[in-house]
């Protein structure tokens, strides 16, 4: 695999991944599978967005559901109350999420490590509570989106899920392009420098607050886009669904699972986690004994234990097998 790494550039590997993802739903025309693919693409993109602030810039966010929810709510409320096209809502939602991100994260950037992480968690929970109590957006009751005739403009498709998939897919590819662009530009280097040592970064002329803010803005913008898309796809949202801590954690975990701070990570992670959770539930969820989640939990533990650097570690690891092990003593 080390060999292949040299032969194929990151760009090529990513392109192949994207092509594979694009043709898979055509190859397997099953609606439930399409659903899994849509969820996969959405979550891979969410992981990618989150990766920018946490994987690249090293600022652990446990509150990304806040941006997701803001995106979902903005487009849904506009659509439901004023019949504004979800596309407009999507853009507005992303902008609002970005604004909120700036306002809430700016004061938190002085916090280090876990203190920052808990702060984002707190912000996420507070924003959820605001929406639960906000009558204008129907509070805890949630919003059922009106069902309209199919159409690209109103972002509703009833015959087939493929249009949803390809819309999500295009946005997903855009997110990858953005993430790729960031990683290979000045900004990417600066973010990673901040992650490794903020002080070293400052000493070579990096304004950490500014770059963290940029990263947060981009990350929240993209997260919100997928929030809108998700709401449009499910056609129902409530605050417990789109602002939940488990959602934030899902984004975190799939990225960690795949490999934090890499472009492949979120894709690999989502490709494992989403089908795994869907299919364990489908196979065992009907028992009513929690067997699906026992199995899912166990698999997550095993993956974490045997691929502690994320699944991406697999690719680096193969080449080294067969050598006598030395290194740090375990015991």
């Amino acid at each position: 695999m080390v060999e292949t790494k040299k032969i194929f550039s990151q760009k090529q590997v990513l392109s192949w991944m994207c092509i594979l993802i694009a043709v898979l739903p055509l190859a397997i025309p099953n609606m439930n599978f399409h659903h899994v693919m849509i969820m996969f693409v959405i979550f891979a993109a969410l992981g990618q967005s989150w990766n920018i602030i946490t994987g690249f810039a090293g600022q652990t966010s446990f509150g990304h559901a806040a941006f997701f929810g803001i995106g979902a709510y903005t487009s849904s409320v506009l659509f439901w109350k004023y019949m504004v096209s979800p596309w407009v809502g999507m853009l507005l939602g992303a902008l609002i999420a970005m604004g909120v991100a700036v306002i809430v994260s700016y004061p938190c950037f002085q916090l280090k490590g876990h203190y920052f992480a808990i702060a984002t968690l707190a912000i996420g929970e507070i924003i959820q509570q605001i929406f639960v109590s906000w009558e204008y957006v129907e509070g805890a009751t949630g919003i059922s989106l009106p069902i309209l005739p199919e159409g690209f403009l109103q972002l509703q498709f009833h015959q087939s899920k493929l249009p949803y998939f390809y819309i999500a897919y295009v946005l997903f590819v855009l997110v990858i392009v953005v993430a790729y662009g960031i990683e290979h530009s000045k900004m990417g280097y600066y973010l990673k420098a901040i992650r490794e040592s903020q002080e070293a970064g400052e000493a070579i002329g990096i304004n950490p607050t500014r770059y963290k803010l940029f990263a947060m803005m981009i990350s929240s913008f993209m997260t919100a886009i997928f929030g809108s898309l998700y709401a449009q796809y499910i056609l129902y949202i409530d605050p417990f669904m789109v602002f939940s801590l488990p959602l934030s954690m899902k984004i975190v975990l799939l990225t960690v699972l795949g490999g934090l701070g890499t472009l492949y990570g979120p894709i690999i992670g989502a490709a494992i986690l989403i089908p795994l959770s869907e299919y364990t539930r489908i196979l065992f969820g009907g028992t009513g004994k929690g067997i699906d989640l026992i199995i899912f939990g166990l698999l997550v533990v095993l993956v974490a234990c045997y691929q502690p650097k994320g699944m991406i570690g697999l690719f680096g690891g193969w080449a080294r097998k067969g050598q006598r092990t030395g290194g740090e003593k375990g015991e």
Binding site: I147, D238, R281, G288, D292
Partner: protein, 417 residues
């Protein structure tokens, strides 16, 4: 594969009616894991009970589909309920509904307990033109969406609220209970908030004029560690009656704290939720007494209702507990959808839906004895009775026709128990 593409591209296309069926599949979506799993699992047992009654031969039961094995009008085809877990997540409810329809080819859906899950799941059913019969989901909003393929058995919170006020009026009139002020304690989610809205609505529309007044409104967060503050607020306002929209975990804590802080309202009425769970009495023992709530059934009624009693025996063998309201309602939803398919004599969803909408279903397990859906899909016969816990048992106390015990109109002081 090509055929499949066509099929998924035209979901509304109905199956050919002549098709011979051996097994009729019906999807059942419940919260089988997560914080509502305790209820969800009971609902699953209830549906399994229905399945057993339909598929087996139960001459002892005087109700449709019991005597013969399977669905007689479909050549004794068996019914198979396929369960799915929505984990209290609307997204999952939606995708499970789709999967059940698409992959499992179910011809009808029941569920989902949580109204928030029933909403998207029934939208899917609507889109595929598959009948959806909700059992215990109580949000009034469900039947206000104008869906054609959606019906619901349980009385909604709108009806429940009126029922509560009428009960309080009955207590005032018959026992001179003197209940005027009310407090509402409810969970901050769709279930609680909607119930509280209905209280406000009914007060404004009708009952304020009849002397009722709301004095305190306690909304508490969804996940909850303790209710000290909530109970203090209630205690300070001294309402005569408390309306509770709470789940089993919270209501248990409330009762504990009512006792600790010596809160003695005259009556506590509960929306369909935690109070109706038999675990309420198990957990709280004597402290559980004198609370009341609307319920589709009560174990004390079993003596009066022979069929229900026998059904309950089957259920109890599976679940280890007696039927409670939500379980019976979801049992009913399973029976109704099977009955409708049988009456239609086909699995053609449009015909089945016609049957659902037009038939009057025999339901000897309900006090109302019948189920009939109105235009909007709401069951017109409210199956509810008011039950009160007395000596560790749920007694039906109102309406008078179904009374198994007289209501105890006011709460005794905690120390006098």
């Amino acid at each position: 594969a090509k055929q499949q593409v066509q099929q998924s591209a035209q979901p509304e296309q109905a199956k050919t009616p002549e098709e011979k069926v051996d097994v009729v599949k019906i999807g059942a979506i419940f919260p089988l894991t997560g914080s509502a799993a305790s209820t969800g699992v009971k609902l699953k047992y209830a549906v399994e009970t229905a399945e057993e009654i339909i598929n087996g031969e139960h001459p002892e039961l005087d109700m449709p589909l019991a005597r013969e094995a399977g669905l007689p009008n479909l050549g004794n085809a068996k019914v198979k309920f396929i369960f799915a877990d929505h984990q209290a997540n609307p997204e999952v409810a939606k995708s499970e509904a789709e999967r059940l329809i698409q992959n499992e080819k179910v011809v009808g859906l029941i569920g989902c307990y949580h109204s928030s899950a029933t909403k998207p799941a029934s939208q899917v059913a609507e889109r595929f033109r598959i009948p959806f019969v909700a059992g215990s989901s109580s949000s009034a909003a469900l039947t206000e969406r104008g869906l054609e393929y959606f019906t619901r058995i349980a009385p909604n919170d709108d009806m429940e609220t009126a029922f509560f006020f009428e009960y309080l009026k009955y207590l005032n009139a018959t026992y001179d209970a003197g209940i005027k002020t009310i407090g509402v304690a409810y969970i901050d989610n769709e279930y609680g908030v909607h119930a509280a809205q209905m209280v406000d609505k009914w007060l404004k529309d009708k009952y304020q004029g009849e002397g009722f007044e709301k004095v305190v409104d306690v909304k508490y967060p969804k996940d909850l560690s303790n209710v000290d503050t909530e109970v203090q607020k209630i205690k300070a306002a001294k309402p005569d009656a408390i309306f509770h929209a709470s789940y089993i975990g919270d209501i248990t804590q409330f009762v504990k704290k009512y006792k600790e802080f010596d809160v003695v309202p005259k009556a506590v009425v509960n929306y369909c939720g935690g109070f109706q769970d038999p675990q309420f009495v198990v957990n709280l023992g004597k402290d559980a007494d004198f609370f009341s709530g609307s319920n589709a059934t009560a174990p004390s009624l079993f003596a009066k209702m022979d069929t229900l009693n026998k059904i309950n025996e089957i259920y109890k063998k599976k679940s280890g507990v007696d039927f409670d309201g939500p379980a019976l309602e979801d049992f009913a939803s399973a029976m109704v959808i099977a009955d409708a398919i049988n009456q239609a004599g086909t699995i053609d969803s449009q015909k089945v839906m016609e049957a659902i909408k037009s038939a009057v279903f025999e339901a000897p397990y309900f006090v109302s004895g019948k189920i009939k859906f109105g235009k909007n899909g709401q069951n017109e016969y409210s199956a509810s009775v008011m039950v009160q816990t007395q000596n560790g048992k749920y007694e039906a106390v109102w309406p008078v026709d179904y009374q198994t015990a007289e209501p105890i109109p006011t709460f005794p002081a905690w120390k006098n128990r």
